[in-house]
Symmetry: C2
Subunit: 288 residues, 2 copies
């Protein structure tokens, strides 16, 4: 595996691969790899000749006051894990390589970015503008046939699909399943912030979403009833405070009152476990 720091070197390497007719897959990440990231690499490894993983803690997708400086980083460990998965190129540029002086362009997706995590009371639409801008840059430099994203960030995946379609980006967006620990907690780099007690309490999020799935499977179609059931399960853990629970359709992320069988539904939640904010979701009746 080769670690690349500059866009110029990456372009040169990939131009040679492209000339040789080899397909390129990309897994964009912010590093601090867990099995969720590794599952994306495994999937991408199987589907592509050349596997590029980007490791970039993107400052523009952190809101003021969010944990950019403190975000967990361990490039050496990440490089070892990526190499073990057969990654060919680890693209780990410094911030000034991605955002040189004078940089002033933003890729903005509209309505989809203004709800759920993009709500002003949450991380704000600017979070997703940071994501779509950096992903556009990565796509333009790497020009992958396939790019792999985790469904853990379901809204992000839906937004990136919208952007790729709208801007005619010639990359297929592949959304991969959420990877969970044995106790059901969705893997997240931010789980590193949890104390042992919080870690245990956090598993209630998955149990609550499972409850929603069971209700749906039993024929429940009223969103409010499902939300109340989720709240009830979560309320059993005093360390967990729900930030939002949203039942939306996956097409436009608009709230759904009655779940119909011709819509794919996303139930997304965010919750504070102690001071750590976690998200999780379940998709009903289809896939993103």
């Amino acid at each position: 595996m080769r670690t690349v720091r500059t866009i110029a070197e990456l372009r040169e390497l990939l131009a040679a691969e492209r000339r040789a007719g080899r397909s390129i897959g990309l897994v964009p990440t912010m590093g601090f790899f867990h099995d969720g990231h590794l599952s994306l690499m495994r999937r991408a490894r199987a589907d592509n000749d050349v596997l590029v993983v980007s490791l970039f803690v993107n400052p523009t997708q952190f809101a003021p006051g969010e944990d950019f400086a403190a975000y967990p980083r361990d490039e050496q460990r990440d490089a070892e894990l990526a190499a073990a998965e057969g990654v060919d190129i680890l693209f780990s540029p410094p911030v000034e390589e991605v955002y040189p002086g004078g940089f002033d362009t933003t890729v903005v997706v509209g309505g989809l970015t203004e709800t759920l995590e993009g709500d002003e009371a949450q991380r704000g639409a600017e979070h997703f503008q940071g994501v779509t801008t950096v992903v556009t840059k990565l796509f333009n430099v790497i020009r992958p046939q396939f790019a792999f994203f985790g469904r853990k960030d379901a809204q992000q995946a839906i937004i990136i699909k919208r952007m790729a379609e709208d801007l005619c980006i010639d990359t297929e967006i592949v959304v991969c399943p959420i990877v969970r620990d044995d106790d059901g907690l969705a893997l997240s780099s931010r789980n590193a912030y949890l104390s042992a007690e919080e870690r245990s309490a956090a598993t209630v999020l998955h149990r609550a979403l499972e409850k929603a799935q069971v209700l749906y499977g039993g024929g429940e179609r009223d969103a409010e009833t499902i939300v109340k059931a989720i709240e009830e399960v979560v309320s059993t853990e005093s360390l967990v405070r729900i930030d939002y629970i949203s039942v939306v359709n996956t097409k436009d992320l608009e709230p759904v009152q009655t779940l119909s069988d011709d819509q794919t539904i996303l139930i997304a939640l965010a919750a504070f476990v102690g001071k750590t904010r976690l998200i999780d979701n379940v998709v009903l009746n289809g896939e993103i």
Copy 2:
């Protein structure tokens, strides 16, 4: 020459050209060709194996109340002119091919779009957002090695260069000289709106910019003095009303008080000639 209406057909045609190792050049236009457009095609024809001209009157770059519906169109004539210049592909999609239902992505360049033509009192930054978004789409579909823009829209060319650099778009932006009629009037599709009397009066804009060039050549470095001289020349034509005259550096479009020899300077003006709004400019001490 082949006229193409859909992105899918265009992609297929160009993929074959690319496989054959042929270089692709793009001249993006809104049609109603004059010699300015044709000069871009000639330049592009000389530099590229495959020459694509896009003809798309882009609704999103017209402000509410601007002349989108009335904007001059004559595709049959345009097709004949393009064919005569050796254009290979005329890409002329319907609006819904470029902006299908659900389209909701915008490419936004910051400060450069908020001044001159982008000032709220003028066309507004949304005008340039419309431009950068549609150009990004065209670049992603066509992936040209070179794209050709006229210096007549100097601010547009500077913004597109900024965007291409910021987003790592692998297309070289080539800015070509303003083409003028024998009497000095910069060619523009909007000149079609002018009466004979207005047409004659409009030539004062070029004469005023020439005056500025002469002053600069003679050592004048005070922006205010140059602006006053331009105003004085224009004031000789009662049919012409200046909208703005700006002396800015070409790097960030910030106003310049004293022209220094280490800066390239853009003198941009907009004026109403009767009800028709025209723009023109001169670049001093370098090129865009």
